[in-house]
């Protein structure tokens, strides 16, 4: 019996020494901070975030000493630092409102180096626990397998909301896109299915239906959506989209609209109504203010010389298609829009502002800004910007931007966190980043959505695009979506 106990203790000791390695005693002190991936140095994270596992790619072995108040642990497994969720919770709790310090030791060619420690600030402001995103290869035109997935930010649980593999066949491929939720909740949500089973999947008060959102009066099917925060109403843009390819510019592709309007879809009455359809304005990306009293949108102005040749003209003038930001008052009783007003003149700066979102207090407008056009994830100079409507000034957003394309930003339900997509990792694969936006209107350094294996994004050949915050997971199961998707869709009334 004694032998078994001894063996057991030995195994336990061995295991614990593996998960909490001791710190090297003999090392060389480096003057700089370690180059870790993902870059979590000096970031501010929410108190409920999943462990920030990281790696040092150039190192053979890594040991990190993480200290938050009285709580301290050592981690290291090869060149990765993998932190157990339970211990990470203790570290977060201990550092809440303060910082945790990370001391990194790396072994290269049998020699240890110790780097200048970095800190991770733990904000007491928690983050919406879920995000959803579209996972697909960084494609241009083709599509094969893509999924809308949901991820819990408090841990590493992740699942498909819907995957095209559930319904697509070789003969009839399927594209899914534009997932949207009402007020961060999932009882009212939607996404589009295109090509085969062409329809919009709408969950209304927990009930699922599929509707083909196109009437003869519309330019196209309903495209970019935004749920009204209170009403059963979705604002969509409806547009004629085209794309063309660069031969030398590393932008590689230009997505353009030759015509665009905005429509309202009443989810309960199943009716569609055009609300913005100026023939020389390309109104796009509608979004509601959180109080539901304003409809924000962006629009580019272009007077076509020949309306019948819109596609060619658009192609010839794509650099001139620059979008400004507008808003129009919305009467929730009559469901009518007032006169639009310009809130941000990007064109005067030779820029194009799109994909705007508004903070809960209507003060800040968050948007993506690039040189022209609307698909800024392809524009390497695109940045995330914030307009303070109270002062009319732009906030300093350098801390969360990079020298590569950033796009599709959104506020969390509390406004304290910003979620956006970025190609800063390698210029081609889109990744989702989070940044703290404090009460003083200061933007903090952005950080990559943490993964269980820090190597995940290095190895993954999928892009994570169109990220959205959610306060709860989607309750409708993929199977329910699938069963509904293969049914004949309903038709919308105009």
């Amino acid at each position: 019996m004694k032998q078994y106990t001894l063996c057991f203790l030995l195994v336990v000791a061995l295991l614990s020494s593996c998960s909490h390695p001791s710190l090297p005693q003999d090392y060389r002190q480096e003057s700089g901070q370690p180059e870790i991936y993902p870059d979590y140095t000096d970031v501010t994270v929410p108190v409920n975030i999943a462990p920030l596992n990281f790696m040092v790619e150039e190192a053979d072995e890594v040991v990190a000493h993480i200290q938050a108040g009285d709580v301290a642990y050592n981690y290291g497994r090869g060149n990765k630092v993998i932190i157990p969720e339970g211990e990470w919770r203790k570290l977060l709790a201990s550092a809440k409102g303060g910082k945790m310090q990370v001391d990194v030791y790396c072994k290269q060619q049998d020699k240890w180096s110790r780097y200048k420690p970095f800190s991770i600030e733990v904000s007491p402001d928690s983050i919406d626990p879920y995000i959803s995103y579209r996972a697909l290869a960084p494609t241009y035109v083709g599509f094969e397998h893509l999924a809308i997935r949901q991820r819990c930010l408090e841990n590493f649980k992740e699942s498909d909301i819907f995957n095209t593999r559930q319904i697509s066949t070789e003969k009839e491929g399927t594209c899914i896109n534009c997932h949207s939720y009402q007020n961060y909740k999932t009882d009212n949500m939607m996404f589009h299915i295109r090509i085969s089973h062409d329809a919009t999947m709408i969950v209304s008060n927990g009930k699922l239906k599929n509707i083909f959102l196109k009437t003869p009066e519309m330019l196209s099917v309903a495209v970019y959506p935004y749920w009204h925060p209170m009403l059963p109403l979705i604002a969509f843009s409806t547009d004629r989209t085209m794309q063309s390819f660069h031969t030398r510019d590393i932008t590689k592709v230009e997505v353009m609209e030759s015509a665009s309007d905005i429509v309202f879809y009443d989810v309960e009455k199943n009716t569609m109504q055009t609300v913005l359809a100026d023939s020389i304005e390309l109104e796009l990306f509608p979004s509601w203010s959180p109080d539901g009293k304003w409809l924000y949108f962006c629009s580019a102005r272009h007077e076509f010389e020949d309306m019948n040749n819109g596609m060619n003209e658009t192609l010839n003038h794509y650099r001139q298609l620059q979008y400004n930001l507008y808003r129009a008052p919305f009467d929730m009783e009559t469901r009518t829009l007032g006169e639009p007003e310009l809130i941000y003149d990007a064109r005067s700066k030779e820029r194009s502002a799109v994909e705007q979102r508004v903070s809960s207090d209507n003060r800040y407008v968050l948007f993506a800004e690039g040189p022209h056009g609307l698909f800024h994830i392809w524009h390497p100079t695109a940045q995330i910007e914030i307009l303070d409507q109270q002062t009319g000034q732009m906030l300093d957003t350098k801390a969360m931007n990079s020298d590569r394309a950033e796009s599709y930003p959104s506020f969390s339900s509390t406004d304290r966190w910003i979620l956006f997509e970025s190609r800063r990792d390698d210029g081609n694969f889109t990744r989702d980043y989070l940044a703290y936006f404090d009460r003083k209107g200061k933007v903090h350094k952005a950080f990559l959505v943490p993964q269980k294996d820090p190597e995940f994004f290095r190895m993954s050949l999928f892009s994570w695009s169109r990220p959205e915050f959610m306060t709860e997971p989607v309750k409708v199961t993929p199977k329910m979506f699938q069963e509904q998707a293969i049914k004949k869709p309903g038709r919308v009334n105009f």
Binding site: A137, T139, S159, Q166, K171, R248, G427, M459, L461
Partner: protein
């Protein structure tokens, strides 16, 4: 050891000892035939047969299959594979596919795997020695799956295809071994465990193992073990459904056959290519019924009959596999030329072009032009056969298009790296990322100056077994990016990229016409690019564009004589300048030999034209004397169908 058995020992339902010899009494003497060499002979014949087809005929295809495959040693990739039924097979299959990097090495592993499958099946089902040749039927079907692909190799979504089914078959046999003979209801327990525990890692092959166990039980004692078939039906019906309920990676109706390759492309489905896989499944169901336990000796008649059957099977297998083996010489030449271009062995590319039997495919022409361009001899392209072969087809109804095969790599070689990236990504979207694609993407990104993107692909390649060498060779270019422009490896492509025009447009899925049109119209003062522009003006037969580039050439090199084929074209296009060939001759100092030859050419054309010959006939008549001229190409090759 020889054991002589009497026919009397043959009793129904009584397990018998293995007959290792057959005997026959002849004039009072007993002749004995040792049976034990039979499996060895069958095996040797099979190994030779498989080696001839795999390495003798398809080594290039095997190399290409690994290049279009992908495996890496990270847990991220393992987890990705394990999400689907048959995920483990997929992971391990893509791992072994890498070994076709050295085709003989990979083929040896594949044949070894087949021989292991043979041994497992033989021993676990106690197959009669004289019937062991039947165990090669599924293996021959597996061999057929390897050699039948032809142009489908470009459209394979299953990067693990080469080993997936062979490994699946092997594991199915391994799992169906009677491990539980000493346990009461052991067979039933084994069926349940195999189907429940192995459905996800092995997919359809776990179900095959379950079927084999059930058939073995049933065949051993059908009066008692009919319940095995009931259990089998229940397991086949329920397990896949339960284990894939809630899955999002496939349609529910796929759960029984998921992993069994389907040759589908758009609306095309080639059942003919799927047939060998069905043969693997169906022929393996025969195995439990050819065990020796049921019978005693076959006797000499049985032995002769079985060996006759063996001969029929062997001849049939040879006929089918040989008939299925791709016979298009251009297909193999393309694969070799692609590899040579990839490795920048320009002379090998040109040798292959010269050695082509018949007319070359457009892909061969493009590879050849790339080699000529890199040797600075693109204008000599008229020394080669430019007659177009019929576009390659992979079935009766679908044309193989350059943009789907190696359009990305061709674009890269002409410095059109943005289009190269686009095509590589589009292909990957449909057919999965591969080493080939990653190398193309890494090279294009390197030329574009997207260095972090290069690092991404190199990192992925470094996680593979054989591609890490290539990735390591690329690292110095990232550490010192000035090496790119000066290196023989990237210098020309970088110059073509820098000298190329910046445009926005589309290739409409046509690679060759896009390149010809763009290059012919490129305004440049770079001599290398001007050579390209002139060469493709000649090919496009766009005279206005041609004269523009000629004048540019004349401006840049007023003292330099025009290259031979340009002189030929100038004489041919003289009427564009509303002038006679004599004036062209005096203005541009045409080589007297070329001028004399031109006059002879024109005279012959007129003569043949007046005699009522059609273009084909004129072309054939002129070829011996003028086949190496631009005039001949111009007059005869009017309609080159690109694809």
């Amino acid at each position: 050891m020889h054991l002589i058995m009497s026919k009397k020992t043959k009793q129904k339902h009584v397990p018998a000892q293995a007959p290792k010899v057959e005997s026959v009494e002849k004039k009072g003497r007993t002749l004995t035939f040792p049976l034990w060499p039979l499996p060895i002979i069958y095996s040797l014949v099979f190994v030779v047969f498989a080696w001839v087809f795999l390495i003798g005929k398809n080594a290039d295809t095997l190399f290409f299959m690994q290049d279009r495959g992908y495996w890496n040693d990270s847990m991220v990739y393992f987890d990705h594979c394990m999400r689907m039924p048959g995920g483990f097979l997929s992971w391990i299959g893509s791992y072994f596919t890498q070994y076709f990097y050295y085709p003989a090495y990979g083929a040896a592993m594949l044949i070894l795997l087949w021989m292991l499958s043979f041994c497992v099946a033989w021993r676990s089902f106690h197959v009669r020695l004289e019937l062991t040749f039947l165990l090669f039927v599924p293996l021959l079907a597996l061999l057929c799956t390897e050699v039948q692909l032809g142009y489908w190799v470009y459209f394979m979504r299953d990067i693990d295809y080469s080993f997936y089914h062979s490994l699946g078959f092997f594991f199915a046999l391994l799992l169906s071994i009677n491990y539980t003979r000493k346990i009461k209801y052991g067979g039933y327990i084994q069926m349940i465990l195999v189907s429940v525990l192995f459905y996800y890692p092995l997919g359809i092959y776990a179900l095959l193992a379950t079927v084999l166990i059930a058939l073995r039980l049933f065949w051993d004692n059908w009066r008692k073990e009919w319940k095995a078939l009931v259990l089998l039906i229940a397991l086949l019906g329920i397990v896949p459904l339960l284990e894939t309920s809630g899955t999002t990676i496939m349609r529910l109706d796929e759960c029984w056959l998921f992993g069994l390759k389907r040759f589908e492309l758009g609306s095309i489905r080639d059942f003919r290519l799927e047939a060998p896989l069905w043969w693997v499944i169906s022929s393996s169901l025969v195995i439990p019924f050819i065990g020796k336990r049921k019978y005693g000796s076959f006797g000499i008649k049985g032995l002769v009959a079985s060996q006759l059957l063996m001969v029929v099977v062997a001849i049939g297998a040879y006929y089918i596999i040989n008939e299925r083996n791709c016979s298009d010489t251009n297909y193999y030449a393309e694969l070799r030329m692609l590899r040579a271009v990839d490795e920048q062995r320009w002379d090998d590319v040109l040798n292959e072009a010269r050695a082509a039997k018949g007319n070359p495919s457009r892909l061969m022409v493009m590879y050849r032009d790339i080699a000529l361009m890199n040797k600075g001899e693109l204008l000599n392209r008229y020394q080669y056969n430019n007659r177009p072969a019929k576009p390659s087809v992979m079935s009766d109804s679908i044309v193989v298009r350059l943009c789907d095969t190696t359009g990305d790599f061709i674009y890269y070689n002409f410095g059109e790296t943005c289009f190269g990236i686009r095509r590589a990504i589009e292909r990957s979207m449909h057919y999965g990322f591969s080493y080939y694609t990653m190398r193309v993407l890494a090279r294009c990104a390197l030329i574009n100056g997207e260095y972090d993107n290069v690092r991404k692909y190199l990192r992925l390649l470094e996680h593979s077994t054989f591609q890490k060498k290539w990735a390591k060779e690329m690292r110095p270019y990232l550490e010192d990016t000035t090496l790119i422009a000066s290196s023989p490896r990237f210098g020309l492509v970088k110059r073509l990229y820098n000298g190329g025009s910046s445009m926005v447009g589309s290739d409409d899925n046509f690679v060759e016409p896009t390149l010809i049109h763009k290059l012919a119209h490129t305004a440049t003062d770079n001599p290398e690019i001007l050579d390209l522009a002139l060469a493709y003006c000649l090919q496009s037969k766009d005279m206005q564009c041609f004269w523009t580039q000629v004048w540019q050439y004349n401006n840049l090199f007023p003292e330099k004589p025009f290259p031979r084929y340009i002189q030929e074209a100038m004489l041919l296009y003289h009427y564009e300048l509303k002038t006679g060939p004599e004036e062209i001759n005096s203005t541009y100092h045409i080589d007297p030999q070329i001028f004399e030859r031109y006059k002879m050419f024109i005279a012959r054309v007129k003569e043949y034209g007046q005699s009522g010959m059609n273009v084909e006939q004129v072309g054939a008549a002129l070829q011996p004397a003028f086949g190496d001229t631009y005039w001949w190409d111009y007059c005869v090759l009017r309609e080159i169908q690109s694809y």
